[in-house]
């Protein structure tokens, strides 16, 4: 049994929270550049140029890429041969708090959804812990902006709806979101399981590296086909019109009931900030 001190988890979460808000992941920057090369709409190209300039300014001047430094979504995969010394949940909570304060990030979380008192330090985070075989301990942090989160949708389709029904729903969600989700977006698509879990599948898909296709060729093909159709909607960068509405779409699936076809579409803005580390 390998031990990981809670203190190390706290420090890693803190560092990741700060890092992702100042340094846009390389795969995203490359995707912006590719999009700029292919974009046919002049205002769309102008937006992509500004996104790249914004990323440079964020890193060089110590200003967060976006003022919505997000809900901290922390996804831990803990090997069954790893034990955390101390309290894991508390360590993650403290890491987010320290990252917010030390990184000059925005407190964007209210303690109660209706009475809405800001907690000030962006806590509590959303925490997912999954067990897996082995002795690895992975921590991934996503700073999830709410503009795109607000435009995400879940629908309980029926088995008869099939891939065509999923296509209709996904296109509808992206079209309804339009400029509000800050395109070019990336999309996490959850299919299967139950009402509660399908949304997590969609979020989990966003943790996969950009362009990492589903290992099942059937779903990999569906990812490519849906992405192509989304980019024919004409919404374009920031909704000003164009061919680059989405940079990627990733699917996660799970078994489901014979009567059910749950589908969740989690939209993510161009400020897709996620980074993973190993302890």
């Amino acid at each position: 049994m390998r031990s990981v001190p809670a203190r190390a988890v706290e420090e890693k979460v803190r560092d990741l929270c700060i890092d992702i808000n100042y340094h846009m992941p390389r795969d995203m920057l490359q995707a912006f550049e590719r999009a700029r090369e292919t974009e046919v709409s002049p205002p769309g190209r102008e937006v992509l140029t500004q996104l790249l300039a914004n990323a440079r300014t964020a890193a060089s001047e110590g200003l967060p890429y976006c003022q919505d430094t997000g809900t901290a979504v922390v996804y831990i995969r803990q090997g069954e041969e790893v034990r955390v010394e101390g309290r894991l949940e508390e360590a993650v909570h403290r890491g987010v708090s320290a990252g917010t304060r030390e990184g000059f990030l925005r407190g964007s979380i209210v303690r109660d959804p209706l009475r809405r008192q800001n907690t000030g330090d962006n806590t509590p985070p959303v925490l997912h812990v999954e067990r897996e075989p082995g002795d690895k301990f992975h921590i991934a942090v996503m700073a999830k902006g709410s503009g795109a989160e607000n435009m995400s949708q879940l629908r309980m389709l029926t088995p008869a709806d099939g891939p065509d029904g999923i296509r209709r729903f996904v296109l509808q969600v992206v079209r309804e979101a339009g400029p509000n989700a800050c395109p070019p977006v990336t999309i996490g698509l959850g299919i299967g399981s139950t009402f509660d879990t399908v949304a997590w599948l969609a979020k989990k898909a966003l943790f996969r590296p950009l362009g990492r296709r589903n290992p099942d060729p059937y779903y990999a093909d569906l990812e490519v086909a849906l992405l192509r159709d989304i980019n024919r909607l004409g919404i374009g960068p920031m909704g000003f019109g164009g061919k680059n509405t989405a940079l990627d779409l990733r699917i996660e699936t799970a078994p489901c009931h014979i009567a059910a076809l749950p589908v969740a579409v989690n939209l993510e803005c161009h400020a897709h900030r996620v980074r993973e580390a190993e302890l």
Binding site: S41, Q67, D68, F104, R106, L233, G234, G236, H270
Partner: protein
């Protein structure tokens, strides 16, 4: 594409030339307000009090900035989704509000109300809070200080870059953009929230 210069507060005549899709650089004084400040202004109005900031001819910027580092005046300060403020717009337009700055679309009733009150909606590029922050010259909290990032700030900006989202004639940059570039149509209505 033409770039207009717009002084804030805004003179009515300055809005006549602006068309959806035009580039504009705003220089002058803005007031920041987002969800919580709008809710509180609406409560003030409902209780028969006037909002704590002047509205006639003014520009509201929908933003909740990140905290400044020591020695800086502000952190990252890009726009938030405008349509969440739609339900508060009519009361503010009646008091003479002339422009708002945000991201995303406005609902048809608000586009109509802006046309009626001859006000414009200006779009800043969402998620470019670092770049936009470089156009801010001074910042001072003027109301609802307890709201923290959501407090109302008076902000002086210089050549703050925006695109006209809705002009005073009812033009809409997003509808025009999607119409020009769509290759497939879907049965979907924008969600104004």
């Amino acid at each position: 594409m033409t770039t207009h210069h717009l002084d804030a507060p805004v003179a009515d005549a300055a809005l006549a030339d602006l068309r959806a899709g035009d580039r504009v650089e705003v220089t002058g004084t803005l007031y920041t307000a987002r969800d919580a400040a709008h809710k509180r202004m609406a409560e003030d109005i409902q209780k028969g009090r006037e909002p704590p900031i002047p509205l006639r001819g003014q520009v509201i910027y929908y933003v909740g900035p990140t905290p400044p580092r020591p020695g800086s005046i502000i952190g990252s300060a890009g726009p938030t989704t405008a349509s969440r403020m739609d339900k508060y717009m009519e009361a503010l337009l009646q008091r003479g509000l002339k422009a708002t700055i945000g991201k995303g679309y406005r609902s048809p009733p608000v586009v109509e109300a802006m046309k009626h009150h001859r006000a414009v909606y200006l779009v800043a590029v969402g998620g470019t809070g670092a770049l936009l922050s470089k156009h801010i010259r001074s910042v001072r909290v003027v109301a609802y200080e307890d709201l923290g990032t959501e407090a109302i700030r008076e902000m002086r900006v210089e050549r703050f870059p925006v695109v006209v989202g809705n002009d005073i004639y009812g033009g809409d940059v997003f509808q025009e953009g999607v119409k020009r570039y769509a290759e497939i149509q879907v049965d979907a209505k924008p969600r104004y929230e």
